[in-house]
């Protein structure tokens, strides 16, 4: 059975002018913010391909910042995202960069900073407002907007098999079903791993804290109820 929903056809609700270059860009910004775990103080954005070519006419830049500020793709504050970012003390810089042929034409790399904390993501807007996160820091992944929409956990951790087993065990104990799991290794440092767990039920803050306590974990964030 095809997994297109009626709401993929009759949607998304969005601020114009383009589902791929505006709504998709806003979604990438929103997911990037959630992966960072909070609003970054400083962001550098590298626009690739068609994003680099025609961003101005589609407000791709404003849409990305709007998402990074936590606004949904249909939030009219998208139009004033630059001013709001200044008010809220989020500095931003746009550059263009050829990320390589392997990336979709509508792709952006976002580096987010707060103090010494830094996270980089690469996201692509593949059409009709559907987006995919292709890389988190050095970890190649494939996280789609429909997976990020409901509930998923991104875990940065040491590469130890026991750790993931103990998380799986804990989730099973609190009756949270893992719908889909993505495991990725840092090609430059094999000791580091990133695991994404797409869950069928939402996770509470307390439950997330419980998982964060486990030995070998660097960082855990949850993406939940994102309007993407």
């Amino acid at each position: 059975m095809s997994d297109y929903s009626v709401f993929d056809i009759a949607g998304p609700i969005m601020i114009g002018p383009s589902s791929s270059h505006t709504a998709g860009a806003a979604k990438i910004g929103l997911i990037a913010r959630s992966i960072f775990g909070k609003q970054p103080e400083k962001v550098t954005l590298f626009l690739h391909g068609s994003f680099a070519q025609v961003y101005a006419g589609h407000a791709t830049d404003r849409a990305l910042i709007s998402g990074l500020l936590g606004f949904a793709p249909d939030d009219t504050r998208l139009c004033n995202a630059f001013d709001i970012a200044k008010e809220q003390g989020m500095s931003y810089e746009f550059k263009t960069k050829n990320l390589g042929k392997e990336y979709h034409a509508n792709t952006v790399q976002i580096i987010m900073h707060t103090g010494a904390e830094e996270t980089t993501i690469i996201g692509s807007s593949i059409g009709g407002g559907v987006v995919e996160i292709k890389q988190i820091d050095n970890f190649p992944v494939r996280l789609t907007s429909s997976q990020a929409r409901f509930c998923c956990m991104v875990i940065w951790h040491q590469h130890t098999a026991d750790l993931i087993d103990s998380i799986v065990e804990y989730l099973s104990k609190i009756h949270k079903k893992i719908h889909h799991q993505i495991a990725s290794r840092d090609p430059h440092n094999i000791a580091l791993s990133l695991t994404i767990m797409v869950l069928s039920q939402p996770l509470s803050e307390a439950e997330l804290k419980e998982i964060t306590k486990k030995a070998g974990i660097t960082k855990v964030v949850k993406l939940q109820d994102l309007p993407v």
Binding site: I9, A10, G16, S20, T76, G128, G129
Partner: protein
């Protein structure tokens, strides 16, 4: 049980169950997501109908220029003509209204207003245009309009599955062409057509848009997109009228979708939303692109 990937399969389900296309779509949606509830789906759809309506109203009232400065105030001008008893449209009131409302929606989109991408932002005007116009002129209630949206979505689902809904994927035939086909099925259901009639209207509309390229100036969703949505909204009524008068498409729906897919695949990249061909590369198109500081590489 209610899953369909083709027009043929959809009609088979409708015939066996004696349901409308809208009812089959709702049951398919319930089957797709075990947590979904009919009431919640209809509430969300009603929410989206409100976005359609407010987008039309915003578009009719706004007089500002679009981001690319190529459209703005067009719907407002048309609305004034509609309200002026001394101005005569060739089209009947409902068709002139649909054309106006479609342009209003796309203009709102081009001016960074809030819209429903149904099925895409570039083709966002056709369906809102015709639905708002027929609701006003023929007094259809919201329940009937929501069912019409479901019927339109069925056509969109089949096209998305077998071809494409995006200009980058298959040219404008895939965007505005699909929206026109979806709209034709929707109005045909509203006026009491059978599921076979709805599919036939969609077929006639889609067949008539084959080959349409996506060549917007500067890659922006403005020229020719905004006026094109208005003009294709009028074609929705032709397709539905021909159908209800008993004219049947020689080529069946699924074969037209297949033709659209093959045409899209053979279409050069220059005519698939890259702004590297057609209208985008006319003298005025290049001048406007330059004026806006947009660089189209590869030309």
């Amino acid at each position: 049980m209610y899953d369909f990937n083709t027009g043929e399969k959809l009609l088979e389900i409708c015939t066996q169950s004696n349901f409308t296309i809208a009812e089959v779509v709702i049951r398919r949606e319930l089957q797709l997501n075990e947590n979904a509830r009919r009431e919640a789906i209809m509430t969300e759809l009603a929410n989206r109908l409100e976005v359609i309506r407010s987008g039309v109203i915003e578009g009719l009232n706004r007089k500002d220029k679009s981001v690319g400065l190529m459209v703005g105030g067009l719907a407002n001008k048309l609305k004034a003509r509609l309200d002026n008893p001394d101005f005569a449209f060739f089209h009947s009131k409902v068709v002139a209204k649909a054309m106006t409302y479609a342009i209003a929606t796309n203009e709102n989109n081009a001016c960074m207003g809030r819209i429903l991408a149904f099925p895409t932002a570039g083709a966002a005007g056709v369906i809102p245009g015709i639905l708002c116009a027929v609701a006003e002129e023929f007094n259809y209630d919201d329940d009937a309009i929501l069912d019409a949206m479901l019927c339109a979505s069925a056509i969109g689902l089949i096209i998305a599955e077998n071809a494409s809904l995006s200009g980058a994927g298959g040219g404008c035939q895939a965007e505005v062409g699909s929206a026109t086909a979806m709209g034709a099925a929707a109005v045909t259901q509203l006026r009491g057509g059978t599921p076979t009639d709805c599919i036939n209207a969609a077929t006639l509309a889609l067949k008539n848009t084959l080959g349409l390229v996506c060549d917007p100036i500067g890659g922006m969703v403005e020229v020719p997109c905004v006026k094109r949505n208005g003009m294709f909204a009028t074609m929705v009524f032709s397709a539905s009228d021909l159908t209800m008068a008993g004219l049947v498409s020689f080529v069946p729906f699924d074969q037209v979708v297949d033709a659209m897919k093959r045409i899209g695949d053979m279409m050069p990249d220059a005519h698939k939303e890259t702004a590297m061909g057609g209208l985008a590369q006319t003298k005025i198109g290049r001048e406007q692109t330059k004026k806006l500081g947009i660089k189209i590489t590869g030309v």
